[in-house]
């Protein structure tokens, strides 16, 4: 059905589909979305035309196979604007932990015929292979953030970039600091806001899925984590987790004393 509405595609690369599910979980705004855009491709939701030219592509997942490279170049050619969404698409995701190891040895230890698996040597963010117009972090993304960005892009306005640490979101919501009251290590002070302080709101520390805050003092928070009882390996793993290959966290983990499992 041809309309003059802007066309939207949601593409999936190496990922768990969680960001697509986060979009599907939006509730009412999701029902309003087809009034504004033609959703031509969104496999998790039904529409399946991956090769159509569109105004905006939302891309979930990392680039981790040769076929992914071909496909993301095609998506880029077909898209006026390309927005990478989620930790996989913006920093390589959990699967980028393999970047710190010999992935071929790992595969050999898991699969009986690893030669049948064709993968790149690293799991990369979309931006490593094509130009990305906007990145939205999170594991999964905060779908309200994605919808807000879409609205701005449709209006031709630059979406508002989040600049605070997760701590500011905690304090605005009146959440009580787990680190100060329980001695529980929390990545909130060095993690970019945007999630709405999801984990601290349930009484546990932030695990940094949004990646590094604008200022990242990894040395100071690592020292603090050690004072709170984490050993060097445990501190390392705070950085080397969901957003392990986001630039600041990657550099932080490579500089830490616990970096012995690489």
């Amino acid at each position: 059905m041809a309309t003059d509405k802007p066309k939207l595609a949601v593409h999936k690369f190496s990922s768990c589909d969680g960001c697509q599910l986060a979009l599907l979980n939006l509730g009412e705004p999701l029902l309003a979305l087809p009034g504004l855009v033609d959703i031509v491709h969104f496999a998790e939701a039904g529409p399946n035309s991956p090769d159509q030219a569109v105004d905006i592509s939302l891309v979930e997942g990392s680039v981790s196979t040769p076929e992914d490279i071909q496909r993301i170049q095609q998506v880029r050619q077909n898209s006026k604007l390309l927005v990478s969404i989620g930790a996989c698409a913006t920093s390589g995701g959990l699967q980028a932990l393999g970047n710190f190891a010999n992935r071929h040895e790992w595969m050999a230890s898991v699969y009986s015929n690893p030669e049948n698996i064709e993968v790149l040597n690293s799991s990369d963010p979309i931006s490593k292979h094509v130009k990305v117009d906007l990145q939205i972090q999170g594991c999964p993304v905060n779908s309200t953030q994605v919808i807000g960005a879409l609205r701005n892009l449709l209006s031709g306005v630059a979406p508002r970039a989040e600049v605070h640490s997760v701590c500011m979101e905690c304090k605005r919501q009146g959440l009580i600091c787990t680190m100060v009251t329980q001695g529980e290590p929390c990545m909130g002070p060095v993690t970019l806001a945007g999630c709405g302080a999801l984990c601290p709101a349930t009484g546990r520390g932030c695990y940094g899925c949004y990646g590094p805050a604008e200022q990242l003092n990894d040395r100071s928070i690592s020292d603090r984590f050690e004072q709170l009882g984490l050993d060097a390996q445990a501190v390392l793993r705070r950085f080397r987790f969901i957003a392990n290959s986001a630039a600041g966290f990657k550099a932080a983990s490579e500089g830490l004393r616990g970096d012995t499992d690489g």
Binding site: P29, C177, P189, N217
Partner: protein
């Protein structure tokens, strides 16, 4: 330059067993009552109506980056000092819609908070002093903030003298505590057997008229004075004098700023818990259909990149310059702008800093240690 006079106390006495009568008097006067309750491991203000809901027999351990509640042997209701927030969120909302817009036909409508009269039980001297500072900022004659004013006008403040100090308290050195000395509607001092109670405003007096207070005994008045003195003496920290703090401006290149920057996470917690920090940011949230929008204000921090962003350029691009901005503004700049330092000695920035940076120690180091050379 303190604008409010010290209260002339003429307290009556309310036995401990009768404390509920004060709460009843407040509620009967039409206020919802916020009182200290333990929630998520911290003392927080929650709606209460029964004295049995209140914190009892608890004290607080507050050290750099560390807050814990401890059981005491006693029955006292106010043996702690303060929770993670003062009065700030009640007047200067952390997140609020300022106005809403419709596209067709074009309209702009101010969204003012609709609040019930609210009494706050257990407000400390430091937080009352901080509220007076926020009042000067948000209610100044040149243009009062209507959202702040709407909230502020609903408040009835029931203050309490601190009988003890936490380790991170230093209000005696700023002159803002440990006793309540300004801005209360009702003042309290907790003694072993009950409370000395006095009014500080007509609204407070109207509440107290419903309560039969006994005459205060001389030894009770003496205990009140003794406790305040003791709380002040317990304080281990102090801030340099206002005059001395002005010299921070001469030490902007001191090597110690770099040492602080190596510890500071730049997270903004100190500014969010500070009862006087007033910085905010506004942004637009547009509805998905593009037909309406709201203008939202939320707490900002001088530790965020946007705070000093001008035309896309970050004036303060690193943690060092942001911490220096915070400390010098709070302790020196405010004196020029507001007639006093912007710190009332509550010590929250010390307690709630995830890495325990201590502004009293940092100020001392910058003022008194080393040379001016980098």
């Amino acid at each position: 330059m303190q604008q409010s006079a010290k209260i002339e106390r003429q307290p009556g006495f309310l036995p401990r067993a009768d404390f509920q009568r004060l709460l009843d008097g407040v509620v009967k006067s039409g206020y919802q009552l916020l009182g200290p309750v333990v929630k998520d491991g911290a003392i927080q203000l929650m709606e209460v109506s029964d004295a049995r809901q209140l914190v009892k027999g608890l004290t607080n351990e507050q050290q750099p980056g560390h807050y814990r509640l401890q059981q005491t042997a006693g029955e006292r209701l106010f043996d702690w000092n303060h929770g993670p927030q003062g009065l700030k969120p009640l007047c200067f909302a952390p997140h609020e819609v300022l106005w809403v817009e419709q596209k067709d036909p074009l309209s702009f409508t101010t969204r003012l908070p609709d609040l019930k009269p609210t009494a706050v039980l257990g407000v400390r001297g430091c937080d009352l002093a901080a509220l007076a500072i926020q009042d000067r900022h948000f209610l100044h004659a040149a243009g009062a903030d209507p959202h702040y004013r709407q909230r502020r006008e609903q408040l009835l403040l029931i203050g309490i003298d601190c009988a003890h100090s936490a380790e991170s308290c230093f209000c005696a050195s700023t002159g803002d505590g440990p006793s309540v000395n300004q801005g209360v509607d009702i003042g309290l001092s907790e003694l072993d057997d009950g409370f000395l109670v006095w009014s500080g405003s007509d609204q407070g007096e109207a509440v107290l008229q419903q309560i039969d207070l006994a005459a205060a005994q001389t030894q009770q008045l003496e205990q009140m004075a003794r406790q305040s003195e003791q709380a002040a003496q317990e304080q281990q920290r102090k801030l340099p004098s206002a005059e001395e703090l002005m010299r921070l401006y001469q030490r902007l290149e001191h090597a110690h700023w770099q040492q602080i920057a190596e510890r500071c996470l730049g997270c903004g917690n100190c500014t969010a818990v500070c009862p006087t920090c007033f910085c905010y940011d506004t942004h637009h949230e547009v509805s998905l259909d593009g037909l309406s929008a709201q203008n939202v204000r939320q707490w900002d921090s001088c530790f965020s990149a946007s705070h000093s962003s001008m035309g896309g350029f970050k004036v303060r691009g690193d943690i060092l310059s942001r911490y220096r901005q915070w400390l010098t503004h709070k302790l020196a700049g405010w004196q020029e702008q507001q007639g006093r330092i912007g710190c009332t000695g509550c010590g929250r920035c010390i307690t709630w800093c995830p890495v325990g940076i201590d502004l009293t120690k940092e100020s001392d180091a910058i003022l008194w240690e080393g040379s001016l050379d980098e």
